[in-house]
Amino acid sequence: MVEICGIKFKNPIIIASGPGGNGKELSKHIDLNELGGFTAKTVTPYEKEGNPPPRIVNVKSGILNSIGLQNPGIDKFILNDLPFLETLDTNIILSIGGDTKEDYLSLIEKLNNSNAVFFELNLSCPNVGKNGIPLGIDEKSIFDLVKEVKKISKKPIFVKFGVETFLENLISAAVNGGADGITLINSPKGMKIDINKKIPILKRGFGGFSGPSIKPIALATIFIIRRKFKDLPIIGMGGVFDYKDAIEFIMAGANLVGIGSGVMSDPEIPIKIINDLNDYLKNEKYENILSCAVEGYYV
């Protein structure tokens, strides 16, 4: 029903990287084959045990997480997780994260022959980058990285960003490097303090903030970027909990809509959204809801 970068998606709803794990557990609760796509949790060159608990903090209409990219590392991922994902009748997106350009290149090499449809470069890992500047907020690093990655990748490359001041410059760098699409938004930083103990609840002080609270920020970000990049494929996400949210994201400019925290709140949310969206689309053509920003309303 949706086609981007030559790949057909049965519907525009995909699982975002992270909150949905690598599929096996979630598949006990919903039929993953109904999804438009499934993004695996970011995998890194070596195993990461993740951050010490607590890792989840509830805040108003949202959660803070400090998972710390816990993952088995690429080799165990290929051994234990990828085979299951490859059996699914849905589009798999592989999210990869590293500290250096070489990390990304070696990850791509190892995953190039999988049946995944896209790679997603997660440039928002807290510990990634040079001179303390994360790859994801440095135009030159982004350009270099994407250019090298494109040379060897057999699949379209998506780059995932958070909300940044000069985001359109960063995205231009990615696009100039050859990026096929972008993913917006990764979780902004959020914090909660235990006022009785007088310390931040998360040991690192702050964590990633997701859920319905960030939806207006995600929409504004996507809308603004869509105005500048009329044809760039965008995977939009941030607080999508029902089909109306999904429609808002599509109208703001997203081609695909990712569900992150929603699937944590209730694993059945993605399926509910797909069904409700189907009903909605029986009256509306998909093209009709594409999109506020592109159509130029109030731009």
């Binding site: 992270g18 909150p19 949905g20 794990g21 557990e25 979630l26 006990k28 609760h29 949790k41 045990e49 993740g50 010490p52 608990p53 607590p54 890792r55 989840i56 903090v57 509830n58 209409s61 949202g62 959660i63 997480n65 998972i67 816990q70 859920g211 319905p212 909990f241 925290s261 699937v263 944590m264 709140s265 209730d266 694993p267």
Partner: protein, 234 residues
């Protein structure tokens, strides 16, 4: 799934909540559910003290935002519930032993559920609360009220006599668990652990515990663990 409040009894710090679910959720002792008032976006984990058909009972301590909201529930108010999650106690424990149940505060909930369903496995029940307040809503055998007994649960635990065929099953504060583990180093000890949870089903990696076999998720691989297999400190 939808559920509605059938009965709610409260004291200053506790709630005994009875709900009726839309359909039957079969809950084994030790399993938990993810629960939330309709207007919350994310649910939180709660053990079950009783379940039969569509009726489920909870014993909840009021400690923060959501539990304070739960206290305000009225009959016929709606909740969202999903579950049951986690491994039932009975699937992990050694069934050849008799159990001393050591519950700290509302950690007693799953132990009460367990003792009702498996009375033959029980040697002793100790459900510890600091003040007699809990008696207003909970009238069961095994209540240990610090202020009445003149000693707290840690002191009580210290005094336990454990024979070869006896094991302890703890659910309570980390302090209680550590203390007991320390005291009974060579005994069979199980604990039902708690953590702030996101999903409750093992997908988000939000509730880790270090074990001899690597990092596990309390929601999926627990909440009950043999204390010899986990490291309580990170």
């Amino acid at each position: 799934m939808n559920a509605i409040v059938k009965e709610i009894e409260t004291t200053d710090n506790y709630i005994l909540l009875t709900i009726e679910t839309e359909e039957i959720l079969n809950i084994e002792p030790g399993q938990f559910v993810m629960l939330k008032p309709k207007y919350f976006d994310f649910p939180k984990p709660f053990s079950v003290i009783y379940q039969e058909d569509k009726i489920i009972k909870f014993l909840i301590a009021i400690v923060g935002e959501m539990t304070a909201e739960l206290k305000k529930l009225k009959i016929n108010d709606e909740l969202d519930i999903r579950g049951a999650y986690g491994i039932p106690f009975i699937k992990k424990i050694d069934k050849n032993k008799k159990y001393i149940l050591l519950g700290g505060d509302c950690g007693s909930a799953p132990l009460i559920h367990f003792s009702n369903k498996y009375p033959d496995l029980i040697k002793e029940k100790i459900y510890g609360f600091v003040t007699p307040e809990i008696q207003k809503i909970l009238n069961i055998e095994g209540l240990h009220i610090d202020s009445i007994e003149g000693m707290n649960l840690l002191e009580k635990a210290e005094k336990l006599e454990i024979s070869e065929d006896t094991a302890i099953l703890i659910c309570g504060s980390l302090n209680l668990i550590k203390h007991t583990k320390n005291k009974f180093k060579n005994k069979k000890l199980y604990a039902s652990l708690e953590a702030r949870m996101g999903c409750g089903i093992g997908i988000c990696k939000g509730c880790p515990i270090k074990t001899n076999d690597g990092i596990k998720m309390i929601c999926k691989d627990g909440p009950i663990f043999d204390l010899s297999e986990v490291q309580l400190e990170w």
